[in-house]
Symmetry: C2
């Protein structure tokens, strides 16, 4: 393709080592030689071969990012933040998708390791001890976002349970008599990042305990849209509590077609605060997952691991960061 250091050396009548010194400033080199070499380098548009450099240096200044899907608003926000944070530090990112497939996630990770990524940010659909072993075997710094994979794997997240509990609190304060908990994601084990949904559900269960007078219904599979209307036919004031904004949007869309809208006909709360919401009316009550902050924190943590060589996968002290969330006001409750 382009010109190599060998070619440059020949053109300048010096050795490759000298060329290297001119380009990187190591050791003593005569100013004139240096200038001449740099001039030639520019002249012939020398570009270092990054594969070769990576091979010998053992680092590539790349961080690998493995997520489910770029089309998901949540992930695309994350990728933007990660990309910018990384490039501030002179790193680039290599984005790959696992599409919710557990094996694909493993494959992507081994490939990224084989390409000598300096670190990994991972939104996993795997978990457990065996997977921890696997991750450790890759021998590279890894930070998990949202998902607690296993003890010893650093992760960054918000307090999902607490967030959901506050949502429940809000709904109860408004006097709703029936809560429908919507979480179809749990059905497809492995095809979603189910950990966060599990946590949200736990938060829900804890919060409802103190309020036995409130009726609770669950919609836990992908046919949830078929049951929405039946649940809003009687006089009981009903609120839908969804573990993701997407579910809430689908419900609102379907109800609107029947001429029913929140907060008059029913109440509804989402989760994540995806930015599609800014175009939606009425404004959905939701919880901001603070994707920017979570992503930025993940990058920071990863760089500590990479550069400070802070025990990447220490068994004892799981490094994790729990960040604040925010209950977003809206018009649907």
């Amino acid at each position: 393709m382009g010109i190599t250091t060998k070619d440059l050396a020949q053109l300048c009548g010096v050795s490759r080592t000298t060329v290297h010194r001119a380009l990187h400033g190591g050791g003593r080199i005569h100013p004139d030689t240096k200038e001449m070499i740099l001039h030639m380098a520019k002249e012939y548009d020398y570009q270092p071969d990054l594969l070769a450099r990576g091979l010998v240096k053992g680092r590539t200044y790349y961080i690998g990012v493995v997520v489910l899907d770029v089309q998901n608003r949540y992930f695309s926000g994350m990728l933007n933040t990660i990309s910018r944070e990384a490039s501030k530090r002179g790193y680039y990112i290599n984005i790959t998708l696992h599409d919710g497939d557990q094996q694909q996630e493993r494959d992507q990770l081994t490939r990224l390791a084989a390409y000598h990524m300096d670190g990994i940010i991972l939104s996993s659909v795997n978990e457990g001890e065996a997977y921890r072993e696997f991750l450790n075997s890759l021998g590279m710094p890894i930070v998990s976002v949202d998902n607690k994979i296993a003890d010893g794997i650093p992760f960054v997240s918000i307090d999902q349970r607490q967030a959901m509990a506050e949502a429940v609190q809000l709904v109860l304060e408004k006097g709703y008599e029936r809560i429908v908990f919507v979480c179809p994601a749990m059905q497809t084990k492995g095809a979603q990042n189910i950990y966060v949904h599990q946590e949200r559900r736990k938060g829900f269960e804890e919060a409802r305990k103190g309020h036995p007078q409130v009726e609770v219904q669950y919609l836990l599979d992908w046919s949830y849209l078929d049951h929405i209307e039946g649940l809003t036919r009687d006089a009981k004031r009903t609120a839908f509590l969804c573990t993701a904004d997407d579910f809430a949007l689908e419900i609102m869309k379907q109800m609107r077609e029947k001429g029913k809208n929140p907060p008059v006909d029913y109440g509804i709360v989402g989760f994540d605060n995806i930015d599609t919401l800014k175009y939606i009316s009425p404004k959905l009550v939701t919880i901001s997952n603070s994707v920017d902050r979570v992503s930025a924190a993940a990058v920071n943590l990863l760089f500590q691991l990479i550069e400070g060589k802070r025990e990447a996968c220490g068994q004892e002290n799981t490094m994790c960061e729990i960040l604040p969330f925010e209950l977003m006001e809206g018009e649907t409750i």
Copy 2:
């Protein structure tokens, strides 16, 4: 990190070449030796170093994708399609963002070239002869999406002009008396993929020619939202023709706050058919950019260039594909 072929050779008491043969099946090798080596490879979880392989083979089975931003619905759709199409063929993608910055785009491309990507899919904010030179100097197959960069650079797109012309036709048929052409993207040269907007504008100009009785207004800068209301105060039936759905959504949002909604108070048409629209009511009339088809075609074209070695950057015959678009029915006109 892991084990190398050298280690394996030592462990098995053979040469590295034999190990290589066992793993890749070239040449004659004794079945027993092969089995033994493969067994050992599994045992010690051998993973080839992809940097080293790329260095020697000159190919990485990676294609680089350079786009403005992942958060833009249009690009995220594109990335999903490209990723899936590529992995069907055993390739992976390396996604990088240029954030609308012309220099950053160049930098990303040179870096991707330095990493020996086998090909590039590019949504550019650059254009012209000088840039063509630059792209050619990279010496790798490149396909541009949407944007005709220069003669000789293959590209894939829909017929933007024709699409916009049809939108104009539709608006006129509905009897609107004033058309407001909304295209703030043109203002920030270099910060958007302005080529497509230019084309759309040309399509608009051509289509309006035959209809001098219709009043035409332009909103061509980012303060467009400030002028919306003034344009809908009189009795004239007004339609907004936007060069992107995002602009249309912003307008609808603002108007809704004033209690005005399409199609009663005004008409509005978007462009791109981003998938956020499915949650929006009333349903926006728009033009489907067929992002899936465009992306898939781009990947196909790129693979023809990569594998068939079809003249990557032939001056004479620009390889381009113009795909069909679709005018999407809706309720806002």
